[in-house]
């Protein structure tokens, strides 16, 4: 029995926990990370609590170098200002810090993602003026996706989420394909990784199409294919993401426990 499986062989961690741990592992110590609320914030703070104590967290509320000891409930949570190296205005965080490309990693979620890593958080179905579902909108995402040195997308994998073409391009991944980011003058590198509850996708070096490169323990190629709205390409050297370690799970659960208390 591999580590992380209980006596009945079922993992003693959830798919969301696996996704969060896999995302946290991608954040190297000492880097700067532009963090949205929700799963990205959990993953970033898990990284700080484990292998990356000097990870620089930047929240769009203007908190630079925030070091919360619990999970913030919103990007404007008081603990972010209390623990930040510096709190700047919202115009400043976008103009002086994000726009020039100073931030290493941008962490984004999405309601829809397509095979070229474009993201939709605006509208689903119908038309823009008469949508089936109205989503919150862009927020900081378009410029995070444009300017961070690299982008990591964290999103659960379902056929409704992973679509051939997003209904609305809120944030640009690789646009329509190779050369598009350069043509558009986007200076950041674009989505380097998409981390889901099933595994990890990476852009194909040539086509830039998102390709399954790793599976989480227990996940299968079949499920990944069934959860993807386009013919999912599987990497020849498909790997497996290591299961969460005890240390990672303990740290993650200690963090998420702070949330339940708060609400």
């Amino acid at each position: 029995m591999s580590e992380g499986l209980d006596t009945a062989g079922r993992p003693d961690w959830t798919a969301d926990e696996m996704m969060t741990v896999a995302a946290a592992r991608q954040l190297r110590d000492g880097r700067s990370c532009f963090v949205g609320i929700g799963l990205p914030s959990t993953a970033a703070n898990l990284a700080r609590a484990t292998h990356a104590p000097n990870l620089m967290l930047i929240y769009e509320s203007g908190c630079l170098g925030a070091k919360p000891d619990r999970l913030p409930l919103s990007i404007g949570d008081g603990i972010l200002a209390d623990t930040a190296d510096s709190v700047v205005s919202v115009p400043e965080v976008f103009n002086y810090w994000l726009q020039p490309g100073r931030i290493d990693v941008g962490f984004l979620g999405a309601a829809q993602l397509d095979r070229l890593g474009n993201l939709n958080t605006t509208v689903i179905g119908g038309s823009y003026d008469d949508p089936k579902v109205r989503l919150p909108g862009a927020g900081g995402a378009p410029e995070i996706a444009a300017s961070c040195r690299e982008v990591i997308v964290v999103v659960r994998q379902t056929p409704r989420t992973f679509v051939e073409r997003v209904d609305f391009v809120t944030s640009v991944g690789y646009g329509r394909g190779p050369g598009d980011r350069e043509r558009l003058g986007l200076r950041g590198g674009g989505p380097r990784l998409v981390i889901t509850d099933l595994g990890v996708l990476e852009p194909d070096p040539d086509s830039l199409e998102l390709t399954l490169t790793r599976l989480h323990p227990g996940a299968t190629v079949e499920r990944a294919r069934a959860s993807t709205g386009w013919p999912l390409v599987i990497a020849d050297d498909l790997g497996t993401e290591p299961a969460p370690t005890e240390a990672e799970l303990t740290a993650l659960r200690a963090l998420t426990a702070t949330l339940d208390g708060a609400a």
């Binding site: 404007g76 605006t122 089936k132 378009p142 444009a146």
Partner: protein, 272 residues
């Protein structure tokens, strides 16, 4: 010079039907009490401007105060969707709501341009997204030195901006700290401004990270302790996260929403 007035006087004098109104506060210091007074005074046909329309705008929209929304992110932070906002956009209930949609970077720079007395701002933004196809006031501009193409957005000049702050002195000088968001720019960009404060003090003791709004750029100050609830005022209160979670249920159904607003806003006395 800022006058010290009651909240109801301030809204009656500064906010008119059809105005372009910005209530700012980036999750921190959100002027909820002022928004409720706007609802109680039954303002109509407002163009509501805000980077992050959240629960307070969900309430204003659901109560039919607005016919237009200028924004960059409309959600219940840390919870999910705004049901009244969605109902207005998807079903025109209680009326049609026209949208002018931007990104945070675009909205922040539009306030900066307004505060700076410039007609537009330049940024690296929106490029390659579908936003410019639906928001006509996003244009490209070329650098007169390099020829590089960038994005231009027009200045925001609200008729009135409303913000909440920790303190003001009797002269009407305002002091806020913690996450100060875009409030300074929003006030300086506006033709008129109202600041609700936790307390009016004799002297503003300097605080690290403070932003000062001098009395001579503020129209009116109203003392409204707790005026940011369920948002918070650093040093005075903490965010009522339970309320935000509970709002998801309250706002889901039109009647439940109406009843809640009746009881907690319309029938409430001004100083909530």
């Amino acid at each position: 010079m800022a006058k010290l007035v009651s909240l109801s006087e301030a809204i009656a004098e500064l906010v008119h039907d059809g105005d372009v109104v910005a209530l700012e506060g980036f999750t921190h210091l959100i002027p909820f009490a002022a928004g409720h007074e706007i609802i109680r005074q039954r303002r109509r046909d407002l163009t509501l401007v805000r980077m992050t329309p959240d629960v307070i705008y969900d309430q204003l929209i659901g109560m039919g105060c607005a016919n237009r929304l200028v924004f960059s992110w409309g959600g219940n932070p840390g919870v999910g969707s705004l049901h009244r906002f969605r109902d207005a956009v998807q079903n025109s209930w209680p009326g049609r709501l026209e949208l002018e949609e931007h990104s945070h970077a675009g909205m922040a720079n539009r306030y900066v341009a307004g505060a700076s007395g410039l007609p537009f701002a330049v940024l690296r933004g929106y490029t390659g997204t579908d936003l410019p196809r639906h928001t006509p006031n996003i244009r490209t501009i070329s650098c007169p030195f390099t020829g590089e193409l960038l994005t231009a957005v027009p200045a925001l000049r609200p008729d009135v901006t409303v913000v909440h702050a920790q303190r003001a002195d009797r002269a009407g000088n305002v002091q806020l700290w913690g996450i100060t968001g875009v409030q300074k720019e929003a006030v300086l960009a506006a033709r008129r401004s109202l600041v609700t404060v936790e307390e009016v003090v004799e002297r503003l003791e300097p605080v690290p990270g403070q932003v000062i709004l001098p009395a001579w750029v503020v129209s009116a100050v109203a003392e409204v302790p707790g005026g940011a609830h369920p948002s918070y005022a650093q040093g005075y209160s903490v965010r009522d996260n339970g309320f935000y979670l509970g709002w998801d249920e309250i706002s889901r159904d039109r009647d439940t929403f109406r009843q809640w607003m009746e009881t907690h806003v319309l029938e409430a006395v001004e100083s909530e």
